[in-house]
Protein backbone atom coordinates (compact mmCIF):
# COMPACT_ATOMS: atom_id res chain seq x y z
CA UNK A 1 0.00 0.00 0.00
CA UNK A 2 1.39 3.37 -1.04
CA UNK A 3 0.81 6.42 1.08
CA UNK A 4 1.28 10.18 0.89
CA UNK A 5 1.63 10.77 4.63
CA UNK A 6 5.04 12.43 4.33
CA UNK A 7 3.91 14.78 1.55
CA UNK A 8 0.71 15.72 3.37
CA UNK A 9 2.63 16.28 6.60
CA UNK A 10 5.19 18.48 4.92
CA UNK A 11 2.43 20.45 3.18
CA UNK A 12 1.16 21.70 6.53
CA UNK A 13 4.68 22.02 8.05
CA UNK A 14 4.07 19.34 10.61
CA UNK A 15 6.90 17.32 12.16
CA UNK A 16 6.79 13.56 12.66
CA UNK A 17 6.61 14.12 16.42
CA UNK A 18 3.66 16.51 16.11
CA UNK A 19 1.75 14.04 13.95
CA UNK A 20 2.65 11.23 16.36
CA UNK A 21 1.33 13.27 19.32
CA UNK A 22 -1.82 14.12 17.39
CA UNK A 23 -2.75 10.49 16.76
CA UNK A 24 -1.23 9.13 20.00
CA UNK A 25 1.51 6.90 18.60
CA UNK A 26 5.31 6.97 18.76
CA UNK A 27 7.51 8.81 16.25
CA UNK A 28 8.97 5.49 15.06
CA UNK A 29 5.47 4.45 14.01
CA UNK A 30 5.10 7.56 11.82
CA UNK A 31 8.55 6.91 10.33
CA UNK A 32 7.65 3.26 9.65
CA UNK A 33 4.36 4.27 7.98
CA UNK A 34 6.00 6.95 5.83
CA UNK A 35 8.72 4.60 4.63
CA UNK A 36 6.23 1.82 3.90
CA UNK A 37 7.74 -0.52 6.52
CA UNK A 38 4.44 -0.76 8.35
CA UNK A 39 0.85 -0.77 7.10
CA UNK A 40 -1.30 0.95 9.74
CA UNK A 41 -4.61 -0.35 11.04
CA UNK A 42 -7.95 1.08 9.89
CA UNK A 43 -8.20 3.11 13.10
CA UNK A 44 -4.82 4.75 12.52
CA UNK A 45 -5.56 5.34 8.84
CA UNK A 46 -8.79 7.14 9.77
CA UNK A 47 -7.00 9.19 12.43
CA UNK A 48 -4.31 10.24 9.93
CA UNK A 49 -6.93 11.20 7.33
CA UNK A 50 -8.84 13.21 9.93
CA UNK A 51 -5.65 15.04 10.98
CA UNK A 52 -4.94 16.08 7.38
CA UNK A 53 -8.66 16.77 6.75
CA UNK A 54 -8.56 14.54 3.69
CA UNK A 55 -10.29 11.39 2.49
CA UNK A 56 -8.53 8.10 3.21
CA UNK A 57 -8.21 7.40 -0.55
CA UNK A 58 -6.35 10.69 -1.01
CA UNK A 59 -3.61 9.52 1.34
CA UNK A 60 -3.57 5.73 1.08
CA UNK A 61 -3.70 3.75 -2.18
CA UNK A 62 -3.66 0.07 -2.90
CA UNK A 63 -0.89 -1.26 -5.13
CA UNK A 64 -1.13 -4.02 -7.72
CA UNK A 65 0.00 -6.83 -5.43
CA UNK A 66 -2.33 -5.87 -2.56
Amino acid sequence: MKNRVKEERQKINMTQQELADEIAVSRQTIFAIETGKYIPSAILVLKIARTFKKKVEDIFNLEKGD
Binding site: V25, R27, T29, F31, I33, Y38, S41
Partner: protein, 183 residues
Protein backbone atom coordinates in the same frame (compact mmCIF):
# COMPACT_ATOMS: atom_id res chain seq x y z
CA UNK B 1 -45.84 10.29 15.98
CA UNK B 2 -45.26 6.67 15.04
CA UNK B 3 -42.36 7.66 12.79
CA UNK B 4 -40.86 9.71 15.65
CA UNK B 5 -41.09 6.73 18.01
CA UNK B 6 -39.54 4.48 15.36
CA UNK B 7 -36.63 6.89 14.73
CA UNK B 8 -36.14 7.41 18.46
CA UNK B 9 -35.98 3.65 19.04
CA UNK B 10 -33.31 3.24 16.38
CA UNK B 11 -31.29 6.23 17.61
CA UNK B 12 -31.22 4.69 21.10
CA UNK B 13 -30.27 1.33 19.63
CA UNK B 14 -27.50 2.94 17.56
CA UNK B 15 -26.14 4.84 20.57
CA UNK B 16 -26.19 1.68 22.69
CA UNK B 17 -24.48 -0.30 19.97
CA UNK B 18 -21.81 2.39 19.49
CA UNK B 19 -21.18 2.57 23.22
CA UNK B 20 -20.99 -1.20 23.40
CA UNK B 21 -18.53 -1.33 20.47
CA UNK B 22 -16.43 1.41 22.10
CA UNK B 23 -16.35 -0.56 25.35
CA UNK B 24 -15.51 -3.74 23.50
CA UNK B 25 -12.64 -2.06 21.65
CA UNK B 26 -11.30 -0.59 24.90
CA UNK B 27 -11.59 -4.01 26.50
CA UNK B 28 -9.69 -5.71 23.65
CA UNK B 29 -7.03 -2.99 23.76
CA UNK B 30 -6.62 -3.45 27.52
CA UNK B 31 -6.47 -7.24 27.15
CA UNK B 32 -3.64 -6.96 24.63
CA UNK B 33 -1.43 -5.11 27.10
CA UNK B 34 -2.84 -6.73 30.25
CA UNK B 35 0.20 -8.91 30.93
CA UNK B 36 2.70 -6.14 30.20
CA UNK B 37 4.37 -4.36 33.09
CA UNK B 38 4.86 -0.58 33.42
CA UNK B 39 7.93 0.93 31.74
CA UNK B 40 9.93 1.46 34.97
CA UNK B 41 10.23 -2.32 35.38
CA UNK B 42 12.75 -2.22 32.52
CA UNK B 43 15.28 -0.39 34.71
CA UNK B 44 14.67 -2.83 37.58
CA UNK B 45 15.22 -5.74 35.16
CA UNK B 46 18.45 -4.24 33.81
CA UNK B 47 19.78 -4.00 37.39
CA UNK B 48 18.54 -7.44 38.53
CA UNK B 49 19.89 -9.49 35.58
CA UNK B 50 23.63 -8.72 35.93
CA UNK B 51 23.35 -8.69 39.75
CA UNK B 52 21.83 -12.19 39.81
CA UNK B 53 24.07 -13.59 37.09
CA UNK B 54 27.35 -12.26 38.56
CA UNK B 55 26.57 -13.46 42.10
CA UNK B 56 25.46 -16.88 40.81
CA UNK B 57 28.60 -17.30 38.65
CA UNK B 58 30.92 -16.11 41.43
CA UNK B 59 29.32 -18.55 43.88
CA UNK B 60 29.47 -21.46 41.44
CA UNK B 61 33.08 -20.74 40.44
CA UNK B 62 34.17 -20.58 44.07
CA UNK B 63 35.09 -16.91 44.30
CA UNK B 64 32.74 -16.50 47.26
CA UNK B 65 34.05 -19.53 49.16
CA UNK B 66 35.09 -17.35 52.09
CA UNK B 67 31.44 -16.39 52.57
CA UNK B 68 29.56 -19.55 51.60
CA UNK B 69 31.88 -22.30 52.89
CA UNK B 70 33.22 -23.30 56.29
CA UNK B 71 36.91 -23.71 57.07
CA UNK B 72 36.67 -27.43 56.30
CA UNK B 73 35.28 -26.69 52.81
CA UNK B 74 31.64 -27.64 53.41
CA UNK B 75 28.85 -25.33 52.29
CA UNK B 76 27.46 -23.29 55.16
CA UNK B 77 23.90 -22.05 55.71
CA UNK B 78 24.42 -19.10 53.32
CA UNK B 79 25.29 -21.25 50.28
CA UNK B 80 21.79 -22.29 49.19
CA UNK B 81 20.02 -18.96 49.92
CA UNK B 82 22.67 -17.03 47.95
CA UNK B 83 22.36 -19.40 44.99
CA UNK B 84 18.55 -19.31 45.08
CA UNK B 85 18.32 -15.52 45.50
CA UNK B 86 20.86 -14.84 42.73
CA UNK B 87 19.22 -17.28 40.30
CA UNK B 88 15.74 -15.90 40.94
CA UNK B 89 17.03 -12.31 40.68
CA UNK B 90 18.28 -13.20 37.21
CA UNK B 91 15.04 -14.96 36.30
CA UNK B 92 12.74 -12.21 37.61
CA UNK B 93 14.90 -9.52 35.98
CA UNK B 94 14.65 -11.41 32.71
CA UNK B 95 10.88 -11.66 33.10
CA UNK B 96 10.69 -7.89 33.68
CA UNK B 97 12.72 -7.25 30.53
CA UNK B 98 10.53 -9.55 28.42
CA UNK B 99 7.13 -8.35 29.64
CA UNK B 100 7.74 -4.62 30.02
CA UNK B 101 5.78 -2.00 28.10
CA UNK B 102 7.55 0.53 25.93
CA UNK B 103 7.28 4.24 26.77
CA UNK B 104 4.56 4.57 24.18
CA UNK B 105 3.03 1.21 23.46
CA UNK B 106 1.21 1.44 20.14
CA UNK B 107 0.17 -0.95 17.35
CA UNK B 108 3.54 -0.77 15.58
CA UNK B 109 5.35 -1.81 18.77
CA UNK B 110 2.77 -4.61 19.23
CA UNK B 111 3.52 -5.68 15.67
CA UNK B 112 7.28 -5.82 16.35
CA UNK B 113 6.53 -7.74 19.55
CA UNK B 114 4.52 -10.33 17.61
CA UNK B 115 7.21 -10.63 14.92
CA UNK B 116 9.86 -11.10 17.60
CA UNK B 117 7.79 -13.86 19.25
CA UNK B 118 7.38 -15.64 15.91
CA UNK B 119 11.06 -15.46 15.03
CA UNK B 120 12.12 -16.44 18.55
CA UNK B 121 9.91 -19.53 18.43
CA UNK B 122 11.33 -20.43 15.02
CA UNK B 123 14.92 -19.98 16.20
CA UNK B 124 14.21 -22.06 19.29
CA UNK B 125 12.91 -24.82 17.08
CA UNK B 126 16.07 -24.60 14.94
CA UNK B 127 18.21 -24.70 18.09
CA UNK B 128 16.32 -27.75 19.35
CA UNK B 129 16.58 -29.52 16.00
CA UNK B 130 20.31 -28.81 15.54
CA UNK B 131 21.13 -29.70 19.15
CA UNK B 132 19.40 -33.09 18.82
CA UNK B 133 21.01 -33.64 15.43
CA UNK B 134 24.40 -32.85 16.94
CA UNK B 135 23.80 -35.32 19.76
CA UNK B 136 22.63 -37.97 17.32
CA UNK B 137 25.57 -37.60 14.95
CA UNK B 138 28.38 -37.14 17.42
CA UNK B 139 26.82 -39.08 20.32
CA UNK B 140 27.39 -36.18 22.69
CA UNK B 141 24.10 -36.71 24.46
CA UNK B 142 23.94 -35.34 27.98
CA UNK B 143 24.77 -38.57 29.79
CA UNK B 144 23.90 -37.40 33.26
CA UNK B 145 20.78 -35.69 34.58
CA UNK B 146 22.56 -32.39 35.18
CA UNK B 147 23.60 -32.18 31.52
CA UNK B 148 20.08 -32.86 30.30
CA UNK B 149 18.71 -30.34 32.78
CA UNK B 150 21.15 -27.69 31.54
CA UNK B 151 20.27 -28.45 27.91
CA UNK B 152 16.56 -27.97 28.66
CA UNK B 153 17.13 -24.80 30.69
CA UNK B 154 19.20 -23.32 27.86
CA UNK B 155 16.58 -24.24 25.28
CA UNK B 156 13.83 -22.57 27.33
CA UNK B 157 15.88 -19.45 28.06
CA UNK B 158 17.06 -19.25 24.45
CA UNK B 159 13.50 -18.44 23.35
CA UNK B 160 13.28 -15.45 25.69
CA UNK B 161 16.84 -14.39 24.89
CA UNK B 162 16.12 -14.43 21.12
CA UNK B 163 12.91 -12.55 21.77
CA UNK B 164 14.48 -9.80 23.92
CA UNK B 165 17.38 -9.38 21.49
CA UNK B 166 15.19 -9.31 18.37
CA UNK B 167 12.65 -6.92 19.86
CA UNK B 168 15.17 -4.44 21.25
CA UNK B 169 17.48 -4.53 18.22
CA UNK B 170 14.50 -3.97 15.86
CA UNK B 171 13.33 -1.02 17.95
CA UNK B 172 16.84 0.41 18.20
CA UNK B 173 17.36 0.21 14.42
CA UNK B 174 14.03 1.85 13.59
CA UNK B 175 14.70 4.63 16.14
CA UNK B 176 18.17 5.16 14.69
CA UNK B 177 16.83 5.39 11.12
CA UNK B 178 14.06 7.77 12.22
CA UNK B 179 16.61 10.00 13.97
CA UNK B 180 18.94 9.94 10.96
CA UNK B 181 16.09 11.03 8.69
CA UNK B 182 15.13 13.85 11.01
CA UNK B 183 18.68 15.26 11.36
Amino acid sequence: MIICKFVNKYVILYVNLTLHTENLLTFIKKMKTAILLPYYFKKIGIILIPFGLIIWCLTQLGYLNDVVRNQNGHANSLYSPILIISFFSFLIGFYFLVFVKEKQEDEFITNIRLLSFQRASFLQFVYFFLAFLFMLLFKKEPSVDAGLEMFLIISILSFWLFYVLHFNISLFLIKKKANEEQS
